[in-house]
């Protein structure tokens, strides 16, 4: 779809004319943006539209970093950046908003500093609150364009539904290992939404997160830059936005592939008879327990209790359901069976013994416990928080990843 010919929504640039005096470009800004101003497709009108525009970036991580930095450099007038996390050493391989000296700081603080360093004309609005169904509409409302740089399914569905309700373009990007996906979900302009593509998320733990499966650092750099590109095109009303298209990127093969998406008439968010008119509980929708690393009703064991019982000489069988690469980074001596091999190697386990199952954070081990329960195992406990919690609270010398 041509962004400038969106059927139901004029380009943001046109809705913002004429530029009020404060939107005029100063002499310094004319010089700063001169390479844009030389492009007839951008010019003074496009640059003023960028100055008048506001973009909310959800997630100051791998995707949010390049998106925020390029949008700031491009002269977007107001950038909101929402993230509730603090900078961690493991972030720095790909999250260029943050530096080594930022470890431990709120990501929104280092994001504000980095953006301010790139372009002091940009108004930065750090949002340190975690987005949820109670605050999302209020947080999204002041912005023209939303960039989804989140790292989990509940937030992606939350952002989708909030954008559909508010009629805002949702610029979607996601990455995993060597693969990326980009699209523009904008039902108000006639395109599909995220729920048209994926009506429901995978069960928790089925599709690993980047923290579990890894991600090549440069990959979110590419995908997040594409998100910034889509945002700029929508703001200036030029070019072909990825509305109704899903762009796949394969980093190992260096291949792009564009797929056509269809609007689903029965979509509960943007279909002919939508049923989602208010935001719901997205952690419930995605089957994610509130605030724990497990999946609910299973028997859990804390790292402190496990340590105490092991030190007491108790015979507890430790089952590690991570991948061999992860085991090689750190382990607590558990018997390693990767999740994909569990069903085939179940005879290696003794149902009569108490088994404590663990992974990195407690999600995959919870799924493994479900599998084992179905096979008749009963004496199972899930290590809350996984080996991450062990490294945090028991063995501070353990390597982290």
């Amino acid at each position: 779809m041509h962004a400038s010919s969106a059927p139901r929504e004029p380009p943001l640039k046109d809705r913002m004319k004429p530029a009020p005096p404060e939107r005029e470009l100063s002499r310094e800004e004319v010089a700063r943006y001169s390479r844009h101003l030389l492009l007839p497709e951008v010019g003074q009108g496009g640059q003023k539209a960028l100055k008048a525009a506001s973009v909310l970036i959800v997630g100051a991580g791998g995707l949010g970093s390049p998106a925020a930095m390029y949008l700031a450099a491009a002269g977007v007038g107001k950038i909101g950046i929402a993230d509730a996390d603090v900078v961690d050493l493991t972030n720095l391989q790909r999250q260029l908003l943050h530096a080594t000296t930022d470890i431990g700081r709120p990501k929104t603080d280092s994001a504000r500093d980095t953006i301010g360093g790139i372009n002091p004309h940009v108004i930065v609005r750090p949002i340190e609150s975690r987005l949820d169904s109670g605050n999302a509409l209020e947080i999204l409302s002041p912005y023209d364009v939303i960039i989804d740089g989140s790292d989990n399914f509940p937030t992606r569905y939350l952002l989708n539904d909030a954008c559909v309700i508010l009629g805002k373009p949702n610029i979607y990007g996601s990455v995993f290992r060597f693969e990326g996906q980009v699209s523009v979900f904008y039902p108000k302009a006639g395109g599909p939404c995220y729920r048209c593509l994926y009506p429901a998320p995978p069960p928790p733990g089925l599709v690993p997160s980047c923290a579990e499966g890894g991600v090549l650092g440069v990959l979110p750099g590419i995908i997040g830059s594409l998100q910034a590109l889509e945002a700029i095109k929508i703001v200036i009303g030029r070019g072909d936005a990825l509305t109704g298209k899903l762009l796949l990127f394969d980093a190992l093969g260096t291949k792009f592939r564009e797929l056509t998406l269809k609007k689903d008439p029965s979509c509960p968010a943007c279909g002919d008879n939508p049923t989602i008119r208010t935001l719901i509980d997205y952690e419930d929708f995605c089957g994610v327990p509130h605030g724990t690393g497990g999946t609910g009703d299973q028997a859990e064991i804390t790292v402190e209790e496990l340590k105490r019982r092991l030190d007491g000489g108790e015979e507890i069988f430790l089952l590690d359901v991570r991948e061999p690469l992860e085991y090689g980074i750190c382990n607590i001596g558990g018997h390693l069976i990767p999740p994909g091999e569990l069903a085939m190697r179940i005879t290696e386990l003794d149902p009569a013994r108490e088994i404590v199952v663990y992974c990195k954070t407690g999600i995959r081990s919870a799924r493994a416990i479900e599998t084992l329960r179905q096979k008749g195992f009963q004496k199972l406990r899930n290590l809350t928080g996984g080996i991450d919690a062990w490294a945090d609270r028991i063995d501070h010398t353990m390597a982290r990843y």
Partner: protein, 98 residues
């Protein structure tokens, strides 16, 4: 020979690379391709389609020659490009990393 591309979690489960090949006797349809895939890789049964209803899992989509055929009838014939192996039958999965 029909080429099928799989998302990462299914590759891991099946112990394959990103693309596998299967042979289909008779009409080449989404249903016959997935039947052949599940015969060659029994561990994929129930992961792409529901065990009983054969409905597509909602976090997966099927693409053929760049077009989304997820909502089309599973018995619709697939184009020659798929039947001949020039183009892959693509199973795309939701990912959430950021």
């Amino acid at each position: 020979m029909i080429r099928v591309t799989l998302p990462y979690h299914l590759r891991t489960l099946a112990g394959t690379g990103a693309e596998v090949t299967v042979d289909v006797d008779g009409p080449v349809t989404r249903a016959s391709v997935l039947d052949a895939l599940e015969t060659a890789y029994p561990m994929l049964r129930g992961t792409i389609r529901d065990h009983d209803t054969k409905e597509r899992r909602p976090f997966l989509r099927f693409f053929v020659c760049g077009e989304d055929v997820s909502l089309a009838s599973p018995e619709d014939p697939l184009p020659e490009e798929i039947a001949s192996g020039r183009e892959p039958f693509m199973v795309i999965g939701a990912i959430a990393g950021g």
